[in-house]
Amino acid sequence: MLDILVSQVANGLVLGVIYVLIAVGLSITFGLLGVINFAHGAFFALGAYTAWQLHQLFGWPAVVLAPPLVALVGMAVEVTIIRRLYGKEPLLSLIVTFALALLIEALIRFAWGADGKPFNPPAAFAGIVEAGPLLITTYRVAVLVATTATLVGLWAFLAFTPYGRILRAGSRDPEMVELLGINLPRVLTAVFGLGCGLAAIAGVLAAPLWTVSPSMAANAVMPAFVVVAIGGLGSFRGAVVAGLAVGIVMSLTIQFKAEAAAASMYVLMFAVMLLRPRGLFGERWERFE
């Protein structure tokens, strides 16, 4: 029994880090721009499709270009649409980004067809790692490493670089940042692009695991919203802790009561919301009070 539990927890961790990666992008977009981006899942799907297309055209190495390309698309969307939502009622951003999600899904279907696209892990990552009671596939280990590296890199960027400081300051007091002579609109465009790029990285990593189809985002984006709610809106640390918790809780629920697996993350969210309505690491934000 212990063997399978160890394997399930390890498996839950991998699932969790993918959720973290999707959720962090969502959380950053909200935390810094105040926009709840319903189209986040669509950028996740766009990342997977771009990776598939690049792989078809140029092979595996080209796949790393998918997230920056999607980030550029995200920046174009920010300049043309999202920018108009800043400071407006949150409901408006929900409606507009929801419409955007439908539009991007329809565009994916138009460009690549309604059928799914076959996409398997690269041959270098085929196989299973068995270490004592632990059983995990090589590709999932690679996902764990890549995601951890991305998250550490992102944290270091936000915490230690001057640009990261501007982002954090801009999210709390945009007027003061502008008074200091910083071009805030350009910063915000970059932030939205960063969020979309993170969604795309998750899409690229998930593409060999999950079916690449126009509606693939639906299965990924709900857990991400739950993770953000549990961790606290806008909290990087919260998204990491909550994502891992959701992954592990779901894996263990599958082991003991499979039919309740999907409900388990909502039960966790419900429990956290009752005890801490702002989420585990949610802070009081003057802008949203």
Binding site: D115, P118, N120, G127, I128, T211, A258, E259, A262
Partner: protein, 408 residues
Amino acid sequence: MRTLREMRRLVHAAVTTALALAGGSALAQETGPVRIGMIYAKQGPGASIGEYLQRGSTLAVEQAGRKVLGRPIELVWLDEPNPQVSQQNMQRLIDENKVVAVVGGNYSSSALAMMSVANREKIPLILTGAAASEITGKNCNRYTFRTQATVPVQMRGLMPFVSQIGKKIYFLTASYAFGQDILRSGRGLLKEVGATEAGVDEVPVNTADYSSYILKIRQARPDIVVGGLVGGDFSNYLKQANEMGMKDRIPYAAIAVTDTDFWDVGPQASAGIYVKPWYYNDPSNTAAEKRMTADFEKKYGQPPSDKTWSGWIGMRALLEAIEAAKSTDPKAIVTALEQWKNTDGEIPFFFRDWDHQLVRPAVIVRVKKAITDKWDFFDVVRKTSDSEADTLKAFGGRDEIGCQMAPL
């Protein structure tokens, strides 16, 4: 007095106009285009299946020269996103588009909603998917026909074959009506085929990651997994089972799958044994089916899926019934469909007159050891029954089905 005369004149004019309009519209109904509705998914996870169904139905119309009773056919295609909107679209097709019949409905939940409208409005509906037993069982009605075999019928074809591979069976089924139907039927047949249950998992719909389920299956060490997953869920499972080294280790068997589930994941991840209504590369396909395959390949540059066949046979049966009835009168179409019989192949197939279920054997297929063609994934193993009598028996008797149909 004058007012009374004026009023009489007004009433007279109104009645004359109404009669003229009614006469004109009756004339239009008999000589104008024949409108036929289609309800197939255009968006969401079912969009790909919807497209293949629609292409099949449209091809049947094109093969008929886009005419029936010498009149042009107009097709109106509306979406099947969920039961509520599918039902509204069914009503719209009848009220606004004035269709004479509707072909469509891939999901049991939508089909059940649509068929109540068909019955109320007395418009023939041919369902091209939807496997829930109650559609031609306790909820059956005179205006609804169904091409897809029910879950128990398909499971009766699959389980004896599965038990030849191994006796320890693990059930992995979707946690809603369709999956529960598979689990119930599968469990009911365990004793008959001499097999035992190694484990059961009922999986919530729209599960993206199956790795935790696969770990459980590996631990239970069954001889075979009998599945009841659909669409994207099934494709996700196939992909991850391959990734976790299950492909050549524990075989997978299932019913109600479609070719696109496999085309979506590709040859590398595809494996297993399946019951399907039809396969394009089955040597026993009829001449008409082979012609449909050729026409489809010519038009779309790829072979048709079994969903294309379902859409095609549903529309073809309807057009042949309208020709046989020599009328677009709903009652005449229903009577003609009840008498419709396809005798192209070795085993004739038809809609049974007392429950409107298409009685026809399915094919059991196995994924090829080495897939060399982008589309041709299967070897046909056998049919689920070998004669008309066996097929009828497999579909169950009146008492078992429980359909009580009202007179026309």
